[in-house]
């Protein structure tokens, strides 16, 4: 996102104080898809807050990302039903397959991984969603195949 676009968002927060930090971060992330180093520092200058403080606040919440989302965004449900049905091994296989931790994006930019508390599809547990496509009643040994099928579609 260009600096001008961030500045346009900042204009809607003129004379704002530190209490406006979270809505401002949400607006920038909605526009940019993530919070870049540059945008965090620009927001900091606007609100009079150091980058370390903003990063501290942003990492407290699950909703903020610091890398662009991958072309395919994988959400792994770790809600109670999915947990009972074995979502942890699913998550571990995905981490192993992509070599990334939750909240991160793979080096090639194709995949990003997110852990969600409940995706609202308990009847399909354990379940993951890739760009909104659901994969139900998964076993860990299916993970590699699913990832491969998306990798083929990657541009």
């Amino acid at each position: 996102m260009s600096l001008e676009r961030i500045n346009e968002i900042l204009k809607t927060y003129s004379n704002a104080g530190r209490d406006k930090l979270i809505p401002l971060l949400q607006d920038v992330q909605a526009e940019q898809g993530f919070l870049s180093k540059e945008s965090v520092q620009v927001i900091g200058r606007h609100l009079g807050l150091p980058a370390s403080k903003i990063f501290g606040v942003a990492t407290f919440y699950n909703q903020f990302r610091f890398e662009p989302m991958g072309q395919f965004h994988i959400q792994v449900c770790r809600g109670t039903a999915c947990h009972v049905k074995g979502s942890l091994p699913i998550l571990e296989s995905i981490q192993k397959e992509l070599e990334i931790q939750p909240g991160r994006t793979s080096k090639d930019g194709v995949f990003s991984l997110e852990v969600v508390a409940c995706i609202g599809a308990c009847g399909l547990a354990p379940v993951i969603a890739v760009n909104g496509e659901f994969h139900a009643r998964l076993e860990s040994d299916q993970v590699a195949g699913i990832i491969e099928s998306y990798r083929k579609k990657a541009v």
Binding site: K37, G44, P50, A51, S52, F55, T59, F60
Partner: protein
């Protein structure tokens, strides 16, 4: 109002905490997150005491005393709670005290011992964060961190830098820089005040004693050592000698026993800085600015300026610090006089400062491939070396420093206290402008621990307006008022650490303000007892100018003793 603590009736005033009232009566309650002079956070809970009547455990650091309050600070209930808190803090601790740089000077270790912790009661997953060795000065080991938050607070509230903060949530909370970067790309100025408040080994100076030992063992290398003005009045503390005792001569003796070949006090370099900086001030007074002139001896401040106030760059004195001036003189002049190959001379600098490790790496601090200062050790690292060599300071005979740079004025010695550079420079600038000595050499208005001090000195027809500031948070306030045009000065001294180098980030650990006060008193009593009290009356220095440097501000002096600054892009 009256408060009863441990059956003793004590007087308390409105708003005082239980901890403060107890401390005044000599009752010591352990604390891990408490910071004198800052608002309590009540984060660590180890200071809990039992309130008689309710039977509740209350955190004494944040609980205001009230009339009729009854407290037991060391009841079985309070002691049990404290022990459990320490045991919980140890649940994910690396437990590697034997190998830890804070072994023997760790608050967490002390409390475990005091509370009789003899087993690992709770076994949690050990933290496995990366060690941050990215900076030339400070090593961060988040595995050892207990999240007391003192480093974050000192960085933000005292120094106004905010390089670090709490990152993450819950059991994954840790201290880090923005975007999990290393300290080297953060706004950290390497002052080391975070190390001074850290109760564990999570923050420490980058230990470089091994490099010095290697040089000392090599018979082909001539090892030169310089020691900062604030070292001789603090180093005694780690050897059980009364705080504030000046042991400069014993320290020289110890250095020779360890194998250092030549000893020059950094105060000689400070005298040189005084001459060059006073000359710069005089030049600006005669040519009309730019004002104010800022001092440049404190490397944390210099980096702070480059990051946050680059617009003031032209106002900062171009003088190198005393450490680097002496380094340049030793490597570039002295080696030639001594017919020594500068490649075979190793220059060690003992400093009260972690930022000096960064300073000696700056560009311009070398002549081709020859570094002016090879290694900077903090007071603490040097203490460890003395202990390693098994030297009993009580038994060491006092010895003088070496010639030709062994003679210093006491003006170069008071550099170690906030206000000292200003006082020393004004003594010499006065003489340069008027041709006479300052009638009263002691400028008492710039002494002491106040954050911002102001003074006016009549120098001939000019009323010289000066300010002295220590602690970068205070500096920020002063700089903002100067930029806003609310304040005008000719000359401003800035010291990174509150109180100056005597309370630097490389000094022996203490949280006792009386100890730091005694260090400062010691420097001023050295000054009042000294025969040579101005840099311009230092005979060895005059000879150095006559033989090599021509005159203050000469071409060669500029080449060797002055430097330049850069605007720094950091994560801020």
């Amino acid at each position: 109002m009256k408060v009863t603590i441990n059956n003793r009736v004590l007087e308390a005033s409105q708003g005082e905490t239980v901890l403060t009232v107890a401390a005044r009566a000599g009752i010591s309650i352990p604390t891990l997150c408490h910071m004198e002079g800052l608002a309590p956070t009540g984060a660590c809970r180890i200071c809990v005491v039992e309130e008689i009547g309710s039977g509740n455990l209350i955190p004494s650091c944040s609980q205001p005393a009230y009339d009729g309050m009854e407290i037991k600070t060391h009841s079985p209930k309070a002691l049990n709670a404290r022990k459990t808190i320490v045991e919980l803090l140890l649940a994910n601790h690396p437990d590697d005290c034997l190998y830890c740089i804070r072994n023997g000077c760790c608050t967490l270790q002390d409390y475990s011992e005091e509370l009789g912790v003899r087993q690992r009661k709770f076994k949690g997953d050990r933290s496995t964060y990366d060690l941050d060795v990215s900076s030339p000065s400070i090593v961060r080991d988040p595995d050892k961190c207990i999240l007391c938050g003192k480093c974050v607070r000192v960085c933000e509230e005292i120094q106004g830098v905010s390089a670090i903060d709490f990152v993450g949530r819950g059991s994954e909370t840790h201290i880090g820089c923005a975007f999990e970067e290393g300290l080297n790309v953060s706004s950290c100025v390497y002052c080391g005040q975070c190390i001074m408040v850290c109760p564990t080994g999570a923050l420490a100076e980058k230990d470089e004693t091994a490099r010095v030992l290697t040089a000392l063992r090599n018979p082909e290398i001539t090892v030169v050592v310089q020691h900062a003005p604030a070292i001789s009045v603090t180093i005694a503390e780690d050897f059980g000698i009364k705080p504030g005792t000046d042991i400069v001569e014993k320290m020289n003796g110890a250095m020779r026993r360890m194998g250092f070949d030549y000893i020059f006090p950094t105060s000689f370099g400070a005298d040189l800085t005084v001459i060059e900086e006073a000359n710069e001030l005089v030049q600006r007074v005669t040519s009309g600015g730019p004002f104010p002139l800022f001092t440049s001896c404190s490397p944390g401040w210099v980096k702070f300026m480059e990051e946050f106030y680059p617009e003031l760059m032209d106002n900062v004195s171009s003088c190198k610090s005393p450490q680097q001036m002496l380094g340049a003189v030793v490597k570039r002049i002295w080696t030639e006089d001594q017919k020594l190959d500068p490649k075979k001379v190793f220059h060690v600098s003992i400093m009260p400062c972690t930022a000096k490790k960064f300073e000696c790496d700056r560009p311009g601090m070398r002549d081709g491939s020859i570094r002016d200062v090879d290694v900077v050790l903090t007071t603490r690292e040097f203490d460890r070396m003395i202990k390693m060599f098994g030297i009993d300071l009580e038994q060491v005979d006092g010895e003088p420093a070496d010639n030709p740079y062994g003679q210093r004025s006491s003006a170069g010695k008071i550099f170690g206290a906030s206000g000292g550079v200003m006082e020393a420079a004004v003594r010499t600038a006065y003489q340069m402008i008027t041709g006479k000595e300052l009638p009263n050499l002691e400028i008492k208005t710039v002494r002491g621990f106040e954050g911002i001090k102001e003074t006016e000195v009549k120098v001939g027809d000019l009323v010289l307006k000066a300010a002295v500031v220590s602690g970068l948070g205070n500096a920020r306030k002063l700089l903002d008022s100067i930029i806003a045009g609310e304040k005008t000065y000719h000359f401003v001294e800035v010291m990174t650490c509150p109180g100056g180098c005597i309370a630097g980030g490389g000094q022996p650990f203490t949280s006792n303000p009386d100890v730091i006060r005694s260090r400062m008193m010691s420097l001023y009593s050295i000054d009042s007892a000294a025969e040579v009290r101005t840099a311009h009356s230092n005979e060895s220095l005059k000879k150095l100018y006559k033989d090599h440097l021509e005159k203050p501000g000469s071409h060669i002096a500029h080449e060797m003793l002055h430097t330049t600054y850069v605007k720094r892009e950091v994560l801020k």
